[in-house]
Symmetry: C2
């Protein structure tokens, strides 16, 4: 019996409406790997089905076994689904967008695989974090992705000061995201609270025709026209 493998499968990072045209960012060998799988652990079933269908998977989509990670109790029922790997059946893990296991709960399936001595195979694909950092010009030799910052003004101010202090001490670029409808508030707060010489990269609509990636100091940003970021997926980097 061939040993099962757990494939970590990246999918496009563009917004849902453009999903089907976006597979040009996915290498053919990733598509081939998807086509060999019948079992998937996914963050959101609807998006996953759309991506798998767009790859022209040879199996009818409703015949595939898709396990959606529970929003509240993410590991609920996961072990039961994964245990088919002990019979030699490989499984794919799909994120909502980009690389599974990065900025999402896909690592729960990976932990199970390591515990049961099953090989985990990461496939190459888009990571908005890495794409933004590549195009930012900021330090890519020492960087951190810190997820979401606090929502409340005071706590956000404090957290920004803390990140600036890390940058000052270690030159470590600090990467973070925000719920798209709150981008305006975060940006406004950064321009008010951060030191004028701190560099800020704004990266939005990565891999879309409207892609915009610019780095300026906080002081410079106050003097240029900033595009409307409302409801657009953004990566922010301070450096």
């Amino acid at each position: 019996m061939k040993a099962a493998q757990l494939f970590m499968i990246p999918c496009p990072i563009v917004t849902v409406e453009h999903g089907e045209n976006a597979n040009h960012t996915i290498a053919p060998h990733v598509i081939n790997a998807v086509h060999k799988l019948q079992y998937f652990v996914v963050e959101r079933a609807r998006t996953a089905r759309r991506f798998i269908k767009a790859t022209q998977h040879p199996t009818a989509i409703d015949q595939l076994q898709i396990f959606e990670l529970d929003k509240r109790n993410k590991s609920n029922g996961l072990s039961d689904f994964l245990k088919i790997m002990k019979d030699g059946v490989s499984i794919g893990v799909l994120s909502e967008a980009g690389c599974p296991g990065i900025a999402d709960p896909g690592n729960l399936a990976v932990q199970w695989a390591h515990q049961h001595d099953i090989q985990v195979v990461p496939l190459v694909g888009p990571s908005s974090i890495i794409l933004a950092l590549m195009a930012s010009g900021l330090n890519g030799q020492n960087f951190a992705f810190v997820g979401y910052l606090p929502n409340k003004k005071n706590e956000l101010d404090q957290r920004l000061k803390q990140l600036e202090s890390i940058i000052h001490k270690t030159q470590q670029s600090q990467i973070f995201i925000e719920t798209p409808y709150k981008n305006g508030f975060l940006l406004e707060t950064m321009l008010k609270s951060c030191s004028p010489n701190t560099k800020l990269c704004i990266a939005t609509d990565i891999n879309e025709t409207s892609e915009y990636i610019k780095t300026h100091t906080v002081k410079e940003w106050s003097n240029v026209t900033i595009p409307d970021l409302h409801k657009r997926p953004c990566i922010f980097i301070l450096g």
Copy 2:
């Protein structure tokens, strides 16, 4: 006149001997972008030429304009090379392996582009840091890449303690690399100095047939057979 763009072009991360077979990790639209360019800023000209040739670039390789980043003075002459972008000529940036601007000096060209209001376009491709993290099962919602650790035993011990303290306080996974012939010393030191419950992911030969990615606690690693890592490219993650 069409405005010039600076393309950040990922290349395969496998070792040089396997280079020409490795382009399956590069999506066709990246290859297409490479074929439209005549000017490249690269970390190492020999490797860059080999990759460009393997893409079957329509121009003879010796006709391409290749600027190698100076090892000592990385920005030496770079501005002179880049200024052709003001005449509408696009340029590509290539790393030695993986994504340019990540764990390499490619960001120098990007900084120039931002200063001269030239669009920077990051293309999708392999990042060994992200691939290792995806397959590690460790926290991908908060992580840092910290480059190389110190070489000297005492300083290395101290740095490891510092990284463990960050993990303890913030659950931030800590990713780092080592010059391949020193992997053994680093690993030995980690197994002695780190807390038994700290998790360690060892990822080596990523994207090769000999790929090996495993996560155990430091205590568990002391009881399993560790593959020989000497002179093999490795990513280490503590979590």
